[in-house]
């Protein structure tokens, strides 16, 4: 009986050794975000071209360096794939978020994400948190509420509060309807941020905005937004593609750095209250 037991154990050990010898070792997880070459960079997060890019999982940490600080963590990781067609750099960000938050309100915050690169690709990189004086960073910011407007939600309070009752807007008075210019002028007067051309104020035609920063609290709109973006809900959260011009100076032999941030609206995250990454190496490479 004892011999039979020994024989069985021996057979099992040989089988396990044989099995492990045949299996290919798992590739190590990527340590950098790689921009893989592609004929085109799709804006659609579900496009099959994204399967051709290796996925990098970036750990997110709370922004707890400047007030207002994020003291309790929320989203823990963002999965990133990147493609380039030689002209544009495209990043596909995907993260887990059980709640879709795309309605603005006094205490309603939108889900959002951002991609950050140094303004200049050089050996010295600026501080990872929004850059520093003399070390500017370029940020492309995507916002779920903006995406909803671009996707067709009208610019009306009824869309945000279906039960709202509005008696009257003075710029919709019948007397003004014969003069669209006067009507528009009055409408603008009652929307001061639009009147002064604040890009966040709309009317909105894109779900992203190009920004420049030289340290916390300095973020400002780029002269124009050249980037594009599109976000969709997935079964588990959000998948967002951000397409921006390929950074000048980025080459196979001149790697760069990239950083990401995610805002969880349900956690009342906005502005500095966010989950962010440190700088992550960004490499340019051919097809995987």
């Amino acid at each position: 009986m004892r011999d039979i037991r020994h024989l069985l154990l021996l057979s099992l050990s040989i089988a396990l050794l044989a099995s492990s010898a045949c299996r290919k070792p798992a590739p190590p997880p990527p340590t950098e975000v790689v921009l893989f070459s592609a004929a085109d960079v799709p804006l659609d997060p579900s496009h099959t071209a994204w399967q051709g890019a290796l996925e990098f999982t970036a750990a997110l940490i709370p922004q707890d360096l400047v007030e207002p600080r994020q003291l309790t963590p929320s989203t823990t990781a963002v999965r990133v794939r990147a493609l380039t067609n030689g002209v544009d750099a495209a990043f596909r960000l995907e993260w887990t978020d059980p709640t879709a938050n795309d309605l603005p309100g006094a205490a309603r915050f939108s889900d959002a994400c951002a991609v950050q690169l140094p303004s200049k690709i050089e050996a010295t990189v600026p501080a990872p948190q929004m850059g520093e004086a003399g070390g500017a960073v370029e940020i492309v910011y995507w916002n779920a509420a903006w995406q909803a407007v671009v996707a067709g939600r009208s610019d009306s309070i009824k869309e945000l509060y279906p039960n709202a009752a509005i008696d009257h807007y003075p710029f919709e008075a019948p007397s003004l309807q014969q003069s669209p210019a006067s009507q528009q002028a009055m409408t603008t007067r009652y929307a001061p941020a639009r009147a002064v051309g604040n890009p966040v104020a709309g009317p909105r035609t894109t779900a992203v905005q190009d920004l420049i920063a030289e340290g916390p609290g300095t973020i400002t709109s780029a002269p124009a937004t050249a980037s594009r973006g599109q976000g969709v809900r997935t079964a588990a959260g959000w998948a967002v593609v951000i397409v921006r011009p390929l950074p000048k100076g980025l080459a196979a032999n001149a790697p760069a750095q990239v950083a990401f941030a995610v805002w969880e609206g349900a956690h009342e995250e906005v502005g500095a209250r966010k989950m962010r990454t440190d700088w992550i190496p960004l490499a340019l490479r051919g097809n995987p």
Binding site: E67, P68, R69, Q70, A106, A107, Y169, N198, V200, A272
Partner: protein, 375 residues
Amino acid sequence: MARTYNWQIQREMSYWYPESRPQRQFAAVFDINKCIACQTCTLACKTTWTSGKGQEYMLWNNVESKPYGFYPLAWDLKLLKLLGPQEWHGEVYAGRTLFEAAPAGTRVLGWRPDDQDYAYPNVGEDDCAGVIEKGASFDIPHLAWFFYLARICNHCTYPACLASCPRGSIYKRKEDGIVLVDQSRCRGYRECVQACPYKKTFFNPLTGTSEKCIACFPKFEQGLQPQCFANCIGKIRLAGWISKPEQASPDNPIDYLVHIRKVALPLFPQFGLEPNVYYVPPIHAARPFLHQMFGPQVEQAIETYRRAPDDPDLAGLLGLFGCTERVVPRWLREKDWVVGAAEDGTELVRVPLKEPVYIRAAFDTQYQVARVNCP
């Protein structure tokens, strides 16, 4: 945090930025005893500034009944509860201001109203603090009371909205101390909505930026009082300039009421913002409630106010309220007349110390009809 001096709490306190007082500070006095909550001020502001899309819920000016009226809901109670019991030692505030009580990771102790909190601006309207029992007597203060509290932005010397904005989108104008949101820079983070204890910054969901009372600065720059002042039919308001206490000038109407006669008091001075709208407290309301709301000088202010009929200077100046749309930076009494003047002494308005009373006969002999007294 910097150390700054706040004369309303008579001590130094911590603030996010160093003390930087404007060249002149916009200020106002509201006489609560004269407010009838007609909401003309509210509508004057609404039609002038907040009739746009996304501004539907905003009332930069509102009038609420105290103790049970709020806009937004329980704005003062929630903050007082968050701050917890604090103490005054005489006229020196010994407790913590909102800046000193800021939780870790933030600059100001605050809370952010939910959409629903703005939905009932008339909740508690005309609700008494208690029921009238049989046998109750009519006395001062009243056994059961309520009063109307008209509120605008206080254009504070130490604004919490300004301190809380992480990107410096809120600024205090050097020339008049009016606090404004830079509409070209704001990104709608709503830190100001959370930080302002008076809840006088508002988020516009359609433009994605925050907005607030601007003290009608386009009017004020022309020497005219804001819309909510000029349209007040109860004549409860006076806009002008306030000096630091040690520089108070008796011929400045605001200085006279606030610093010299101490009859007008700041709203919740213990919060530490040095607000610049001052209230003549209601004489009939419960003193502990008023003490909490206006600070330890409330008894003295009420006593001074009640003696106004025998005090021609004070009564005269209170009679100047609402008599002109012009800002009145100087005033003087000439026997039975009170004169409002410009900085250079030019007379702007003249009102009698006491309005003349005419009593007509009950029967009009000319037309052979009985006269009917109509209000």
